[in-house]
């Protein structure tokens, strides 16, 4: 039995917003793979919950008229991976979330929950950052949009006021068209593990040179982060070995990893130096390109 004081099962977004407005202490639960574990551990014991599990309006992936891809935050990781639009347009994202937890967890954990928990190790986060994802937040007073990068407030904290819900994850056409991507999850085990470091790259090549590139990390700092200096450093260059080295070396100056029981700061720094080049290399291969 879970130590839950009260639970409201919302069947729609307005119902969920009303339930949140009625109880200022209520916590949102979606897939439950984080919230229920925190209740079990006692960290959230005696909490009030508003369940948004399975709300149809938060499911699905659609393409808007301008080519923007809108991902429902209530999609489970496996629903994201299997969706035809994701496979066709955002394959790197589908593959990234296919590395979270294990198969059963990917059938319950949601991509929205992964973002709203605000943890730096979220497997969806780095890749979404390299896609310049925008988040649609709905509250009682209306809808707002925020760039995902600006959504993070600190470890485990996001700019989501009580009474607000993440209702869409948006990737504009200009941010995915012509790009290829790759996410490397470095962990101690291949399954059921949390990233020691996560590294995502999306790149666009023109005439064999890097026309645009985006690099993001999880666990390289308190929140998932982009590395603008490293991105700038390799612009216009051929993606050869020297460029790949420069990519990681420059990124090292932008990150702030710490020592945890999983790995030391020094080891994470070594990963920051090494993984961007490998992710860039693989991203180009994923896009059907050739690399020296």
């Amino acid at each position: 039995m879970y130590d839950i004081e009260n639970i409201v099962i919302a069947k729609s977004v307005p119902e969920a917003l009303a339930a949140l407005a009625a109880d200022e202490k209520a916590i949102v639960i979606a897939g439950g793979s984080d919230v229920l574990i925190k209740i079990r551990e006692g960290k959230l014991a005696g909490c009030s919950l508003v369940s948004i599990h399975g709300i149809p309006a938060l499911k699905g992936v659609t393409m808007e008229a301008d080519g923007t891809i809108a991902i429902g935050p209530g999609n489970t990781f496996s629903e994201v991976t299997e969706h035809p639009l994701i496979r066709q347009y955002l394959p790197a994202l589908g593959e990234a979330v296919d590395q979270a937890g294990g198969p059963q967890l990917r059938n319950i954990g949601t991509i929205g929950g992964n973002i709203c928990n605000g943890v730096t190790s979220a497997d969806s986060a780095a890749t979404l950052l390299t896609l310049n994802a925008q988040l649609e937040i709905t509250g009682m007073s209306g809808v707002r949009r925020v760039r995902m990068e600006e959504f993070y407030a600190g470890p485990g904290k996001v700019h989501l006021a009580h009474g607000e819900l993440l209702t869409k994850i948006l990737v504009a056409k200009a941010d995915y068209e012509g790009y290829c991507g790759h996410y490397i999850k470095y962990a101690m085990r291949n399954a059921m593990d949390i990233a020691t470091l996560g590294c995502a790259v999306h790149v666009k090549l023109e005439d064999g040179k890097i026309a645009d590139v985006r690099l993001a990390f999880g666990v390289a700092g308190p929140v998932p982060m982009r590395c603008p200096a490293a991105e700038k450093a390799v612009l216009g260059r051929e993606p050869d070995e020297e460029t790949r080295k420069l990519f990681g070396q420059t990124a090292l100056g932008e990150v702030n990893p710490r020592t945890s029981w999983r790995a030391s700061k020094e080891f994470r720094q070594q990963l920051v130096r090494e993984l961007p080049g490998r992710a860039l290399h693989q991203a180009i291969i994923n896009g059907g390109g050739e690399v020296q």
């Binding site: 099962i9 229920l36 079990r40 599990h53 198969p103 059963q104 967890l105 399954a191």
Partner: protein, 160 residues
């Protein structure tokens, strides 16, 4: 107490539950389906795996409230009318994929899910697909042998 309606192993079922209970507890304690094992209770070991609308989930971290109107399948629901073993169970027996047996019901349900897709999988893919289960006895080799065998046999029979 709250009454919920769901289909359990093909049977429409109405059950009074506490809103705070997990599906694992409801299945075990209220419906007597003790094939559902409680191992870690934090969604890591896979012993409590059941299928909800055909998808494998850890029933220890699934609120029973969410199962309203859904269809649940446990090992009790895959045997024949006179208790005959299903092809998945038979494969586990023949490949000696069972030692203490605690992880077995969960693994069987994942295998049932995989067989149900009608797809063919490589051994490497199967390793990833059963990675949500912990077995402390067998070293997994016989388990993968059993899953590989039944998945491929089914594919040959009904394959798409």
């Amino acid at each position: 107490m709250k009454i919920i309606h769901l289909t359990v192993n093909g049977k429409p079922t109405e059950v009074a539950i506490d809103e705070r209970e997990s599906l694992a507890d409801t299945l075990r304690k209220r419906l007597g389906l003790t094939s559902v094992k409680k191992g870690c209770e934090v969604g890591e070991c896979g012993a409590c795996t059941v299928l909800v609308d055909g998808k494998s989930i850890d029933s220890c971290i699934y609120l029973t409230l969410w199962a309203e109107s859904k269809s649940i399948l446990t090992v009790e629901g895959i045997t024949g009318p006179n208790g005959e073993l299903s092809p998945v169970q038979q494969a586990f027996v023949e490949e000696a994929a069972v030692q203490c047996g605690f992880c077995t019901p969960g693994l069987i349900m994942t295998a049932v899910e995989l067989v149900g897709t009608g797809k063919r999988y490589t051994r490497e893919e199967l390793r990833k697909l059963i990675s949500g289960h912990l077995c402390r006895c067998t070293g997994y080799q016989n388990i993968i042998n059993a899953v590989e065998r039944v998945v491929n046999e089914t594919h040959k029979a009904i394959g798409k």
